[in-house]
Amino acid sequence: MAAPSLAALRSKIELDLRGRVVSPFNYRDRNIFEIVSTGIPEIDAVVGGLPRGAMTEICGPPCSGRTSFLISALAARTADGEACALVDARDSFDPYLASAAGVALNQLLWVRCQNADQALRATDLLIQGGGFGLVAVDLSDVAPKIVRYVPLNAWFRFRRAVEDTPTILMVAEQEANAKTCASLVLRLNAKPAEWKEAVVKRSSVRDLRDLVKYPFARLLKGFEIGADVVRSRVQCANDLPAADENVVNEIIVNKFDARHTRHRAGVFETVVGAQDPCAPTRQSAKHRA
């Protein structure tokens, strides 16, 4: 019996694998991703952005800016007209603030979980369902020792599920746990908050008296956040310089402006200045300030 030619053998293998493997003999570089903006230009300039079809981990201690990063990414994706999903492991998402930051809430499917187990199951369902531009998993408030016990095959499963899809899987947590399953790992850290002192524009005796009486007449101005690239296997298709692995890049994100959070109360006319706690309370207006 004559040995089959190489071409015949190849076509037979391709025929047998048809429907399961697209092109078995073509090398596919798994590190080339379509990159989209994180919504923070300083980070985009270094890492290119968030890779589609891959997992990105955003880690850092509490109050390090993970939520700000997450909201920026959600705002950028929803502004592009994409449907996004947020798996909130400890039900800590603030929709009002997200809306103020530009997140289109009608495009954001919010899954309010009570624990990490529910969050992981919900993530699995969302990824398998497909079609979302960004699936953000917020494990920030889950204790690291619990997330550490998530088996590695769960992360592999997530990575495999988003592969070859336009979905960005972004996990916010305190420590990076997905190991090699994550194509991009960023560690965030924040500097102490900055405060804006009260400025009395029209100096009057009464204002000055109030200022002396209430030395805390100040406003939370913002934070300065730094981001370290812990791991990046992303080769940018759009010729952006890829961040080298293990090279730490310091990124200074613009200072946050927290004034709008004060506006939420909607009670005060001015953003600077404190009220007399003993003064009669004003009823909130019907319209938002």
Binding site: G81, A100, L105, A193, W195, D257, V267, S284
Partner: protein, 540 residues
């Protein structure tokens, strides 16, 4: 001009078989009446061949081996009739509801769609088979000839125009729809087929049978012409199934629900419609419950039959019976009926079918059917109220949102600046522009946790909560907010933004050391009505 008639032979039996397809091919009789006096009201040809006769009692029928007995169901007959009309309207807008088992369609102008009349008849037959009915279809140039041919001949019959008499003449006299007395009279005269009736002189027939005789004579000759009485299209889609034995478990119930959904979807497909809302009404088995009064009397009271209603509103209209079944199943798994089910009635509110094509430059969103299924599964996992989109409320309350269902849209226009606006922005680049600022994140703690706050000179200086304590290094406040005092859940709070240093000696407990920050900015508030401090969340 051509008319098509669809006739369903053994309609009562077929309507039952449609709801229970496993009975197809077996000898089946339908019984009706009050329980001790059941009698046979309909039987299929297999049962009749076995020797069953109409009017037999149930006890007599049970003597026949292999004959299955089912109660007659008027609801299933109505559903089958509605489905038959749907088939008619799927082909032609001009449909006559002639009888419960017969409809007539006007085929005028359908040649461009289906070609010859034979193709139209074949299409009608196929569509009727799709909804579970085996029809007789006949096409003729006048309505009555089409009806007679459909009632008399099995399969598809094409009666050529002007030659109606030849094929109709072979039909038995019982094919005519008239009084039984008239038919018996004709049979006494020896008239057994339409040809014989047509051969009778019409004048003498009129003298003996009156105008009815003349009408029957015209029918027998295939010469009677009348206009179509159009039926009004209805958008009521209901299917019902009554069970002999009550169903308790979800698995067997799924088969029944799947069958009903298949029937509904087939009808909707015939009308090019889709489901927007499904109403499933379960009639539950009456349960015996111990009443307090009954206990005193040492007897049990039988409660009335209960109903359990499940309404499933879909964000997008869909017609895939498998997806719908999964959604109904998930909904029932979350809230199952409390008693065994005796009867299922399913109705559908309809909507126009979703347009699949979206904008070419709009990002592709999740498939609506798949997404609805995913949301249903998520609702089962985390609770229905914990999945959806947040809708902001017009209030200054801290929790100023409510959860709403996903609206169903998956393709959203981009809100990015257009190229023209971008050019304008570039042209005005010389103007000093304010740098884009990233919004600060805030993590809510739900529900807010109680805190112990040490206040010095009207300001917090030390805070402890959740096993943590720290010293306040910077503070902003108090920011007072109150509202809705006229309601029970009004609020009156003094908020503070605090920068807390948790790293002070003794401030950080060992068990929390790994995941609490050494420094953090949180928002706390003093709840005036409760006279307590609470932590609302952290800036992150």
């Amino acid at each position: 001009m051509a008319f098509a008639c669809i006739h369903i032979p053994e309609f009562m039996v077929q309507s039952v078989v449609r709801a229970e397809p496993a009975l197809r091919g077996s000898a089946l009789v339908l019984i009706s009446g009050k329980p001790p006096l059941w009698s046979v009201v309909a039987a299929n040809s297999a049962a009749l061949r076995a020797g069953v006769q109409l009017g037999m009692t149930k006890a007599q029928v049970t003597e026949f081996c292999g004959v299955k007995i089912r109660p007659r169901s008027e609801a299933q007959e109505q559903a089958a009739h509605a489905a038959l009309l749907d088939v008619g309207w799927s082909i032609s807008p001009r449909v006559e509801d002639t009888a419960v088992d017969t409809i007539v369609l006007d085929l005028e102008g359908l040649a461009s769609l289906f070609g010859a009349d034979e193709n139209s008849a074949r299409e009608l037959s196929q569509r009727a088979s799709r909804i579970g009915l085996i029809p007789h279809v006949a096409v003729a140039s006048n309505i009555e000839a089409a009806i007679l041919a459909a009632r008399g001949f099995a399969g598809i019959t094409i009666v050529p125009a002007g030659e109606e008499f030849a094929p109709l003449g072979e039909l038995p006299i019982r094919t005519l729809l008239t009084d039984v007395e008239v038919l018996e009279t004709l049979e006494r005269w020896g008239v057994d087929c339409l040809r014989a009736l047509a051969a009778l002189p019409v004048l003498q027939l009129s003298e003996r049978l009156g105008q009815e005789g003349v009408r029957l004579h015209e029918l027998a000759r295939g010469a009677r012409v009348r206009s179509l009485v159009l039926a009004e299209a209805s958008l009521s889609f209901e299917e019902e199934i009554e069970l002999e034995d009550s169903v308790e478990e979800l698995e067997p119930l799924s088969f029944l629900l799947g069958r009903l959904l298949d029937q509904l979807c087939a009808r909707l497909e015939a009308r090019a419609l889709a489901v927007r809302t499904i109403h499933v009404r379960f009639e539950l088995e009456p349960s015996f419950e111990k009443d307090v009064q009954a206990l005193k009397d040492e007897s049990r009271s039988k409660t009335a039959s209960k109903e359990y209603v499940k309404v499933l509103t879909l964000p997008v209209a869909m017609r895939d019976s498998k997806v719908l079944l999964k959604l109904v199943r998930l909904s029932l798994q979350a809230n199952p009926p409390k008693s065994p089910i005796q009867k299922i009635r399913m109705a559908a509110d309809t909507a126009a079918l979703r347009v699949a094509q979206s904008g070419l430059f709009v990002p592709r969103g999740p498939d609506p059917e798949k997404l609805e299924l995913t949301i249903a599964r998520l609702a089962k996992l985390v609770g229905e109220s914990n999945v959806g989109v947040a809708e902001l409320l017009d209030t200054h309350r801290a929790e100023n949102f409510r959860m709403a269902r996903w609206a169903g849209g998956t393709n959203f226009p981009s809100t990015k600046v257009t190229r023209k606006r971008r050019k304008e922005a570039v042209s005005s680049v010389e103007k000093p522009q304010k740098a884009r600022q990233v919004a600060s994140g805030f993590r809510m703690i739900r529900p807010a946790i109680a805190a112990n706050v040490e206040v010095n000179e009207e300001r917090p200086v030390r805070v402890s909560f959740g096993g943590m304590q720290g010293e306040v290094v910077a503070a902003s406040g108090p920011w007072r907010s109150s509202g809705e005092w006229w309601q029970e859940d009004g609020w009156d709070q003094d908020e503070w933004d605090l920068a807390i240093d948790f790293a002070l000696p003794g401030g950080l407990q060992e068990k929390n050391a790994s995941w609490w920050p050494q420094y953090g900015v949180c928002r706390i508030y003093y709840d005036v009505p409760r006279r307590s401090w609470f932590v609302r969340g952290f800036y992150d």
